[in-house]
C-alpha cells in the first residue's frame, strides 16, 4: 500500500479535484441565472455526483487493473453495444435525439468501454489474434470502434462519436497498428474534410444562387443543421440572430470577460439570458466561466486541463504494460478531445458541436465516466511495477 502511494500521481488528482471545484462554481453561476429551484440546486447535484465519482475513482485506482481487465473489458464492451442499441429502441427523445436511457447516457459509458476493450485487444502481451500490427489489426480496430460509433451516430450524436476517433487513433498509433495504412487513411480523411469545408464554403459564400446552393448541399453527407453549423463557422456574421446566434453570444460572453473577468456570479450574458439558458450549463458553460473570470480564469482552467492530460501521457509512458499504456493514452486523448473541441467551438475555432466540457459542464453520466477513466489511469500509475 505504501509503495502504491509513492507512485500516486498527485498532479492528476489535484488537477481533477480543482476542476471539480471550478465546475461546481460554474454550474452554480449558470444555474442561478435560470428560474426554478432545480436549476439553483444543480451545483449541489454536481457536488454529490463528484463525491460518488471520487469513491469510484479511488476504488478503481487502488485495484490492479491487470487483474480484471481481461475479464471485464470484453463483456463491458458487449454491454455497451447492447445499451446503445437499447437507447435507440426505448430511449427518451430530447431535442430530436435519443440519447438518454432512464437516468444516464449510454454513449458516455460506451466511450470508456471501447477504450478499455481496445487496450485489452491490442495491448496485452499475449496477443488474442495474430497480425495485429498488419492490415488485419486495422480492420479489427475499425470494427471495434466503428460499431459503437455507428450506433452513437444513429442517436444522432456526431460529437460524441467523433471524440472516440482521436482516442482510438492515438491508441492505434501506440499499438503500432498498420502505420502506413493509418497514414494514408488520415490523409484521405483530412482531404475529405477539407473538401467538405470547401464545398460548404462554395455553397454558402455570398452571391451564390439558391438553386446552386441547394444542389451542392444535397450532395453533401451532412444534415441541414450540420451544414448550418459549418456555415456559421465559416461565416460567423452571416446570421447573428439565427444559426450564428449561439456562437455570437459565446464570443460576446467570453470576450466581454476581458482580462480579469466580471466576478463570479456576475456574468451578464449568462444572467441576462443572452447566452441561451438551454446550453449555458452544458455545451457553452466555458463561456460562463470565461466571462466571470476573464482571461486569467480561462488560462487557469486550461492549465488544469493541461495538467490532467499531460499527467495522463506521463502515466502512459511509465505504465507497466502495453494495456496500461494504451488505456492511459486513450483516456487522456478522450479528455483532451472533449476539452479542445468544446473550448475551440466556443471561441469559433471549430464548428459548433454538442460536446460537454469535462468537470465543468453539468452532466452526471459524463462526470462519472471521466472520473472512472481517470481512476483507471491512476491505477496504471499506482501499479506500474510488475508484481512478482
Amino acid at each position: 500500500m505504501l509503495r502504491k502511494l509513492v507512485h500516486f500521481n498527485w498532479v492528476q488528482f489535484v488537477a481533477m479535484v480543482a476542476l471539480i471545484a471550478l465546475g461546481t462554481v460554474a454550474i452554480w453561476s449558470a444555474g442561478s441565472a435560470r428560474e426554478g429551484a432545480a436549476f439553483h440546486a444543480m451545483w449541489a447535484v454536481n457536488l454529490r455526483t463528484a463525491t460518488l465519482g471520487l469513491a469510484l475513482y479511488f476504488a478503481i485506482a487502488f485495484t490492479d487493473y491487470r487483474k480484471y481487465l481481461t475479464l471485464v473489458a470484453p463483456p463491458a464492451y458487449l454491454a455497451a453495444l447492447v445499451l446503445l442499441v437499447a437507447v435507440l429502441a426505448v430511449g427518451s427523445e430530447i431535442y430530436g435525439g435519443r440519447r438518454w436511457l432512464w437516468f444516464f447516457q449510454p454513449s458516455e459509458i460506451a466511450k470508456l468501454c471501447v477504450i478499455a476493450f481496445f487496450a485489452e485487444l491490442f495491448g496485452s502481451a499475449e496477443p488474442l489474434f495474430k497480425g495485429r500490427t498488419g492490415w488485419r489489426g486495422f480492420v479489427v480496430a475499425a470494427l471495434v470502434v466503428g460499431l459503437p460509433c455507428a450506433l452513437i451516430l444513429a442517436e444522432p450524436d456526431l460529437g460524441t462519436a467523433l471524440t472516440l476517433v482521436p482516442a482510438v487513433l492515438v491508441m492505434m498509433l501506440a499499438a503500432g497498428v498498420w502505420r502506413k495504412g493509418l497514414a494514408v487513411i488520415l490523409l484521405v480523411v483530412a482531404i475529405l474534410g477539407a473538401a467538405l469545408l470547401g464545398a460548404v464554403y462554395e455553397a454558402e459564400k455570398p452571391g451564390v444562387e439558391p438553386e446552386t446552393r441547394a444542389k451542392i448541399v444535397r450532395c453533401l453527407p451532412l444534415r441541414p443543421h450540420q451544414v448550418k453549423r459549418v456555415k456559421t463557422f465559416l461565416f460567423p456574421a452571416s446570421d447573428p440572430m439565427g444559426a450564428g446566434y449561439n456562437l455570437r453570444q459565446a464570443m460576446i460572453s467570453i470576450g466581454s470577460g476581458g482580462f480579469a473577468g466580471k466576478g463570479l456570479g456576475k456574468g451578464e450574458t449568462n444572467h441576462l439570458k443572452y447566452l441561451p439558458p438551454s446550453v449555458s450549463m452544458n455545451d457553452f458553460i466555458f463561456c460562463v466561466w470565461a466571462e466571470e473570470t476573464g482571461f486569467v480564469g480561462s488560462l487557469a482552467l486550461l492549465a488544469l486541463f493541461a495538467a490532467l492530460c499531460l499527467s495522463g501521457t506521463w502515466i502512459a509512458y511509465v505504465a507497466a504494460d502495453g494495456r496500461g499504456r494504451l488505456l492511459a493514452l486513450g483516456v487522456s486523448t478522450l479528455v483532451f478531445a472533449h476539452v479542445y473541441v468544446n473550448i475551440a467551438m466556443s471561441v469559433g475555432l471549430v464548428p459548433i458541436t454538442g460536446l460537454p466540457l469535462p468537470f465543468i459542464s453539468s452532466g452526471r453520466t459524463f462526470l462519472l465516466t471521466v472520473m472512472a477513466g481517470l481512476g483507471l489511469t491512476q491505477s496504471i500509475a499506482l501499479h506500474r511495477e510488475i508484481q512478482t
Binding site: A174, M251, G255, Y274, A319, G322, L326
Partner: protein
C-alpha cells in the same frame, strides 16, 4: 523487479507525440483566448452593451408661466401614478404574459378603486414597444387611493418582499400641469397634451422616449420650445427577451425648462374677465407705448385644468361642439365689424386728404347714395357738425359723405396704416388678419363690382370690413400715442413701434373729438366716468346678421393715460383697451361701462375705485 518502459513492445514515442500534440492544442486555445478576451474585449463589451443597454430619453419638467408681477399662471404639481413592471409578470409566451398582466390589473383595480383604463390592446402594445419601461396604469391618483395602495401593497400581485427585485406595481412620481387661477386667462395660456420627448437635433437613436407635456394651444403652444424642459437620458439593462433587468440609471439628468414671464397683469386680466362674465365677447388691454399685452380675455372661456392629466374625448367634444364656441379665442380670432370705432380712422383719412378740421356737414338723419340709405343713430339728424362733433355724436351721414369724398383708396390706406387687414405680429398662435376690403378683394371673393356704397359702408366700419379686438386695441393705442405698436406677450421682448403716417396736428383734432366722446354729452360718456386718468374713446355698435335676425356687436375702444389723480404706480401709464360684447344694446350702453370698470381697476386706487362707482350711481 521493474520493467523499464523502453522495454515495452510499443508506444513510447506515441506518448511523447501525444503530449506534444496536447501541448500544441492547449497553446492554440490559449492564444485564441488571448485574441478573444484581451484584444477583442472592447469589441465584445461593445456588442454586449449594444444588445443589452437601452437608451431612454426622459422628460424635463416644463417651465412655469408667470405674469408681469411674478404671479404664477401655469405651474407644475407633483402627481402620483401607479405603474406596472411587466417583467415581474413574465410568462413563457407573450399571450400568457398579457393575460397575467390583465389579471393583476383587475386585482389592483379593486384596491385603487378605479378600473384599469388599459385595454388588452394597450397591454400588448406595451409589451411590443415599451417592454422594458414601466407601464403607467393609473395616472394622477388621489391621496386615498394611494394610501389604500400602499397599505395593501404586500398583498398585490407580483409583490417583492425583500426589495431585491422590483415589485409588480409601483408608485411613480411625475409632474402634471396645473393652472392655479383655474379658467383665468384660459384662452391666453392654452392647454397641454402629451407627446414623445422630441430628440434634440443630431442626437437620436433612443430606444425609448418618455411622454412629455406639449403645448397644444395659446402661449403653451407658441412658447412650447421655450418652456419645454431639457430632455435627460437614462439607461436600462434588458435581458434577451427585452425585459428590464434592473432599475434605470440616470446618465444625463433632465433639466427643468425656464420660466416664461408674460406681460399679462393678472389683476387687469381678472377685471376684464369679470366684465365679460356670462357674455360672449372679448377684451384686450395693451400698454400703448410698448405693445405689452396687459390682458387678453375671451368669453365664454374654458378651464385648461380640466384637460389635465389627459384631454378626454368626451370632454373635448363637449367643449368643441358648444354653440357658444368656448374654444374660440375671440380676442385674436374673432372677426367683427368694427362699427363706429372705425370712424376715427375715417376722420383722420379725411383730414389727411385735405378736409379741414372745421369743415362742417349737415346731417338729416340719413345718408343716401346710389339708391342706398344709411340711417343715422339720431333719426331727425344732428344738423350741422364738424369732425369733432361728428365723432362725439358718432354721426353716420357725416362719415359716409367724408368717406365717399376721399374715395376707397385713401380709406383703405388709412385702415392699413392702423394695422387693419394684417396680422398684428403678436407672439401668439392665433393672429387673425381680418379684412380691409377693396375692389380687387371684392371681385376675388364675391365676384362683384365695387360700388360707391361699399365705401360709405366701410367709412362707418360696416360692410365687409372685419377686425379683431386685438387690432382695435392697437388702433386705440395708435390714436392716443401716434404710433402703432406690435403687441407682444413675452415680457422681455423689445417694443416695436411704427409711427402713424399722419400729421400730429390732424391727430390732435381726432383726439379732441374722442375726448368729447367720453365727455358729458358724448356717446361714450359712461366709458370714463370716475376714471382717474385722461381718457379718450369711441363707441361702436355694429349691426350684423341677415335682416330680421339682426344682432348688435357693441364696442368700446379707449386710450387712457395716468395723471396725478391716478394711483401712484399707474401715473404715466398709457393703456389702450378694446372691448366687444356680442348681442349688446349699444356701444355706449353695453361696452363703455365695462371699459370704464377696467380702466378704474388700472388707474384708481382701491378705495378711490369704489367711491367713484357710488358717485356714479347717485348721479342724476
Amino acid at each position: 523487479m521493474r520493467i523499464r518502459p523502453e522495454t515495452l513492445p510499443v508506444g513510447a514515442l506515441t506518448c511523447g507525440l501525444a503530449a506534444a500534440a496536447f501541448a500544441v492544442g492547449f497553446l492554440v486555445l490559449a492564444f485564441r483566448l488571448k485574441v478573444v478576451q484581451v484584444d477583442g474585449a472592447a469589441d465584445a463589451t461593445d456588442g454586449l452593451r449594444r444588445q443589452s443597454i437601452r437608451r431612454v430619453q426622459t422628460e424635463g419638467v416644463r417651465g412655469r408661466i408667470l405674469d408681469c408681477r411674478g404671479r404664477v399662471l401655469a405651474d407644475n404639481r407633483p402627481s402620483v401614478s401607479i405603474v406596472l413592471n411587466a417583467g415581474v409578470f413574465r410568462q413563457a409566451t407573450w399571450d400568457e404574459t398579457a393575460a397575467a398582466i390583465t389579471n393583476a390589473l383587475a386585482a389592483v383595480a379593486d384596491v385603487v378603486g378605479r378600473p384599469s383604463p388599459l385595454t388588452e390592446r394597450d397591454i400588448r402594445r406595451h409589451l411590443r414597444q415599451n417592454l422594458a419601461r414601466p407601464l403607467t396604469v393609473w395616472r394622477d391618483v388621489d391621496a386615498d387611493a394611494l394610501a389604500r395602495f400602499e397599505e395593501q401593497g404586500f398583498r398585490l400581485p407580483g409583490h417583492s418582499a425583500d426589495g431585491t427585485r422590483p415589485s409588480g406595481f409601483a408608485v411613480a412620481e411625475t409632474f402634471e400641469r396645473t393652472y392655479p387661477n383655474g379658467a383665468l386667462a384660459g384662452h391666453l395660456l392654452g392647454y397641454v397634451g402629451r407627446d414623445r420627448v422630441e430628440s434634440p437635433a443630431g442626437d437620436e437613436g433612443f430606444n425609448f422616449q418618455e411622454m412629455e407635456l406639449r403645448g397644444r394651444s395659446g402661449v403653451e403652444f407658441y412658447y412650447d420650445g421655450y418652456l419645454r424642459g431639457g430632455a435627460g437620458e437614462s439607461r436600462l439593462t434588458v435581458d434577451a427577451r427585452g425585459f428590464a433587468s434592473a432599475q434605470a440609471e440616470t446618465v444625463v439628468p433632465a433639466q427643468q425648462g425656464p420660466d416664461l414671464t408674460l406681460t399679462i397683469d393678472t389683476a387687469i386680466q381678472a377685471a376684464c374677465e369679470a366684465e365679460l362674465k356670462g357674455l360672449k365677447g372679448a377684451c384686450v388691454v395693451l400698454d400703448a407705448q410698448s405693445g405689452a399685452v396687459r390682458a387678453m380675455a375671451s368669453a365664454p372661456s374654458f378651464n385648461p385644468d380640466d384637460f389635465v392629466p389627459v384631454l378626454r374625448r368626451a370632454r373635448y367634444e363637449a367643449v368643441s361642439t358648444d354653440p357658444a364656441k368656448p374654444l374660440l379665442n375671440r380676442a385674436v380670432g374673432g372677426s367683427y365689424a368694427p362699427g363706429s370705432t372705425f370712424k376715427p380712422v375715417t376722420a383722420l383719412a379725411g383730414l389727411a386728404a385735405g378736409h379741414a378740421a372745421d369743415e362742417r356737414h349737415d346731417c338729416f338723419g340719413a345718408f343716401n347714395y346710389g339708391g342706398m340709405t344709411i340711417r343715422c343713430a339720431r333719426r331727425w339728424g344732428h344738423g350741422s357738425l364738424d369732425v369733432r362733433e361728428a365723432l362725439r355724436d358718432s354721426c353716420n351721414p357725416f362719415f359716409c359723405s367724408l368717406g365717399v369724398a376721399i374715395g376707397t383708396n385713401a380709406l383703405v390706406a388709412a385702415a392699413r396704416a392702423f394695422g387693419l387687414g394684417a396680422k398684428t405680429g403678436i407672439d401668439f398662435p392665433v393672429d387673425y388678419a381680418g379684412v380691409v376690403p377693396d375692389a380687387t378683394w371684392k371681385m376675388e371673393t364675391y365676384h362683384e363690382k365695387w360700388y360707391p356704397g361699399d365705401v360709405a359702408q366701410m367709412s362707418i366700419g360696416q360692410g365687409m370690413l372685419l377686425v379683431t379686438p386685438l387690432q382695435m386695441a392697437r388702433v386705440a393705442g395708435a390714436l392716443g400715442t401716434g404710433a402703432l405698436v406690435t403687441p407682444h406677450l413675452k415680457a422681455d421682448l423689445p417694443p416695436v413701434r411704427t409711427p402713424l403716417p399722419f400729421d400730429a396736428g390732424r391727430l390732435a383734432v381726432v383726439r379732441e373729438g374722442l375726448r368729447m366722446v367720453v365727455g358729458r354729452s358724448g356717446t361714450g360718456k359712461r366709458g370714463a366716468e370716475g376714471v382717474a386718468a385722461e381718457v379718450i374713446g369711441k363707441t361702436g355698435t355694429a349691426e350684423v346678421g341677415a335682416r330680421g335676425r339682426r344682432r348688435k356687436n357693441t364696442w368700446f375702444i379707449a386710450y387712457a393715460k395716468g395723471d396725478q389723480s391716478s394711483r401712484p404706480e399707474a401715473q404715466g401709464t398709457e393703456v389702450a383697451v378694446a372691448l366687444v360684447v356680442e348681442n349688446g344694446a349699444s356701444g355706449g350702453e353695453t361696452a363703455a361701462p365695462k371699459v370704464c370698470a377696467i380702466l378704474k381697476a388700472i388707474f384708481n386706487g382701491p378705495d378711490d375705485g369704489s367711491g367713484s362707482r357710488e358717485e356714479v350711481a347717485h348721479a342724476p
